[in-house]
């Protein structure tokens, strides 16, 4: 992989009062190469969304606070950029699609204007050229009869169509990086499949890199080249899709993969990882997965494992599997 487009290094984010903050992101590092699609997986509350919001510096401050780390985008540390420079990056270089298509569009603005605004903010096009571009984008995302829908308001669309509008808006300025935060989670299953098809189409037609956040491993396997697994605000495994799905090295990833239902299954019950995700900030020491881990040893409770390399493109933070590998 040549120079990465996005390199997140040791990102830590706190929430709550400065005197007694709760660390919700701890030392998160990963990268997204040019043209690559990277999946970010983890349960609810593992810090996926905060990670993506931190990249754009959209974490609400207060109560949030980016405590440490670097977010290097195209060779420039976004966290060091003056605050008033961020709007130039947002929407132009990095665009984002949110989870809730029902509430993420402005209810009193026609969708043509909302997509048009994304263009207007970054490109000097006159209004007729802008209109053409909006129509072109709506066609790209598969909006039927786009010309007549320009003046429609969000409440006149279904959830799937609204998500298409969101995607069109995000693609408006051909961003170098597209962050999609659970783009299909809030949709019906059939609509999910349609939106996923659209994401794949975009992946092949637009040369943006994609950071896809999901708790659905199937979605990730379908679209992404690399996977980053997060647990309790930390990255626990990082690697190319094939090796993670074939030889997961972190017990958490192993558990997640076992929990995926398969058609050929004859199990009565689905597998589940015992216990639940620890509350943010409750783990002060050792591996955050300790309490739920089937392979746990004493040292896991005392020392947080570093990321061990398992091959050139695969690493995981587990003492036990790393030791097995060596021996």
């Amino acid at each position: 992989m040549s120079r990465a487009l996005l390199k997140v290094e040791n990102l830590s984010v706190d929430f709550g009062p400065v005197s007694n903050p709760i660390r919700v992101l701890n030392d998160v590092s990963f990268s997204v190469g040019r043209g690559q699609a990277v999946g970010l997986v983890g349960e609810s509350g593992s810090g996926k969304s905060i990670t993506s919001l931190s990249i754009l510096r959209l974490v609400p401050e207060p109560p949030g606070h980016i405590a440490a780390g670097r977010v290097e985008f195209d060779g420039c540390d976004l966290l060091k950029l003056p605050r008033n420079k961020m709007p130039e990056i947002r929407g132009r270089d990095i665009a984002m699609i949110f989870q809730e298509p029902m509430s993420s569009l402005n209810p009193v603005m026609a969708i043509g204007d909302q997509i048009g605004e994304a263009i207007k903010l970054h490109r000097a096009l006159d209004s007729s050229r802008r209109r053409e571009r909006v129509i072109e984008l709506l066609k790209l995302v598969g909006m039927p009869d786009p010309v007549s829908r320009l003046g429609s308001y969000p409440h006149q669309f279904s959830g799937g169509m609204r998500q298409r509008v969101m995607i069109a808006m995000a693609l408006a300025c051909d961003p170098k990086l597209l962050i999609a935060d659970e783009p299909t989670t809030a949709l019906d299953v059939t609509i999910q499949a349609q939106v996923l098809e659209l994401m794949k189409k975009i992946r092949s037609e637009v040369n943006s890199s994609i950071l896809l956040i999901s708790h659905d491993l199937g979605v990730i396997a379908d679209i992404c080249d690399r996977v980053v697994v997060m647990y309790a605000g930390r990255v626990v495994e990082d690697g190319d899709v094939k090796s993670i799905f074939r030889t997961p090295k972190h017990p958490y990833t192993q558990g997640l993969l076992q929990a995926v239902p398969r058609l050929a299954d004859d199990r009565e019950r689905l597998y589940q990882i015992a216990g639940s995700v620890p509350a943010a900030g409750s783990i002060k020491q050792g591996c955050p997965f300790f309490a739920r881990c089937s392979l746990r040893q004493n040292r896991c409770q005392e020392q947080m494992p570093p990321m061990f390399q398992f091959g050139s493109e695969h690493s995981a933070a587990c003492w036990v599997t790393a030791e097995e590998e060596v021996s």
């Binding site: 947002r90 929407g91 949110f98 402005n106 009193v108 605004e117 903010l121 969101m166």
Partner: protein
């Protein structure tokens, strides 16, 4: 849009009829004999009877009701018992002053209240917010007739910057006369609108679509005014309707304090003199205004929020 306005206008007809019925019933229930009041204690029974006959008071109630409703709708309010001037003329002379006061006071209240609310929301819990909060508390706490009297004493009586009474004639003198009463009414209004705008905008700024606007690369000013404020204005519009009604009734006291012409002072005088036709017309006009204001608020909703527009 035109059709929507038509539908809303049509909807007001039953309201107006109901209001007229209530006024009719209330006037019949009032103690005292209008003929006796009009002619005095020394009138002969023949005179009283003649008066009742002329006023239609001997007719059956249902006929009186129909005549009353028809007269009100055709703006035939009769003549004042005191001055024998047609009531329509009295209203026509005074109504513009009340409308003028309401419009100017509301304009001032909005022009001050909305920016104050935006400022308070944007600098939440910082100095500007606290300042606006203090201003709102004061604005709420001072009764308008008292504030009016203080302003009158300081700026009109002592400093002599403004006229002490009257309504003015040409535009410039009218605006000169209206300033102090309008400021008095606008004080509560801006306090109210300011608080409302702050609360509503704070809520809207936490919504997902505001985050979307930021993610698009919109700068703060655009986020607040283009995406936030328009959505925040809906509750403010409701509040504005309430506040307009309050101004209308508040104008009764203010017109008295500033000795201004207007429907409020006409009504007060008419009540003191038991001038029934004028009271009746005044109440009906106020009621029409309430209906009209509600209509305007409905239309404002339609203009602001596309979700309310029906196909």
């Amino acid at each position: 849009m035109i059709r929507m306005i038509g539908i809303r206008l049509f909807d007001t007809i039953p309201t107006v009829l109901l209001v007229l019925t209530l006024v009719f019933v209330a006037l019949r229930l009032l103690p005292g004999d209008p003929a006796l009041v009009a002619l005095g204690d020394y009138a002969t029974p023949e005179q009283l009877n003649l008066f009742r006959e002329q006023m239609g008071l001997n007719a059956p109630l249902w006929l009186q009701y129909i005549t009353f409703t028809w007269n009100m709708i055709t703006l035939d309010f009769g003549r004042s018992l005191i001055s024998n001037v047609p009531v329509v003329d009295i209203l026509a002379r005074n109504l513009p002053y009340t409308i003028e006061l309401t419009v100017v006071a509301t304009g001032m209240g909005l022009l001050a209240g909305i920016p104050l609310g935006v400022m308070a929301a944007v600098y939440r819990n910082k100095a500007p917010d606290n300042g606006v909060r203090a201003f709102s508390l004061v604005g709420y706490a001072i009764p308008d007739f008292y504030l009016g009297a203080v302003l009158l004493i300081v700026f009109a009586l002592n400093l002599g910057w403004f006229p002490i009474s009257g309504g003015g004639h040409d535009f410039a003198s009218r605006m000169h006369h209206i300033f102090l009463p309008a400021v008095t009414l606008a004080m509560v209004k801006s306090a109210f609108i300011g608080r409302l705008t702050r609360t509503s905008l704070l809520e809207v700024l936490g919504r997902d679509y505001v985050r979307t606007a930021r993610a698009k690369g919109a700068r703060e000013g655009r986020v607040i005014f283009r995406h936030g404020l328009r959505n925040a204005l809906l509750p403010v519009t409701t509040g504005l309707g309430l506040s307009l009604l309050a101004t209308l009734s508040g104008s009764v006291a203010i017109e008295l304090v500033f000795n201004r012409p207007g429907i409020g002072s006409v009504l007060i005088n008419a009540i003191a003199e038991r001038d029934y036709p004028v009271i009746q017309a005044g109440v009906v006009v106020f009621a029409f205004f309430v209906v009209l204001i509600n209509l305007l608020i409905d239309l404002a909703y339609i203009a602001i929020d596309p979700r309310i527009r029906v196909k």
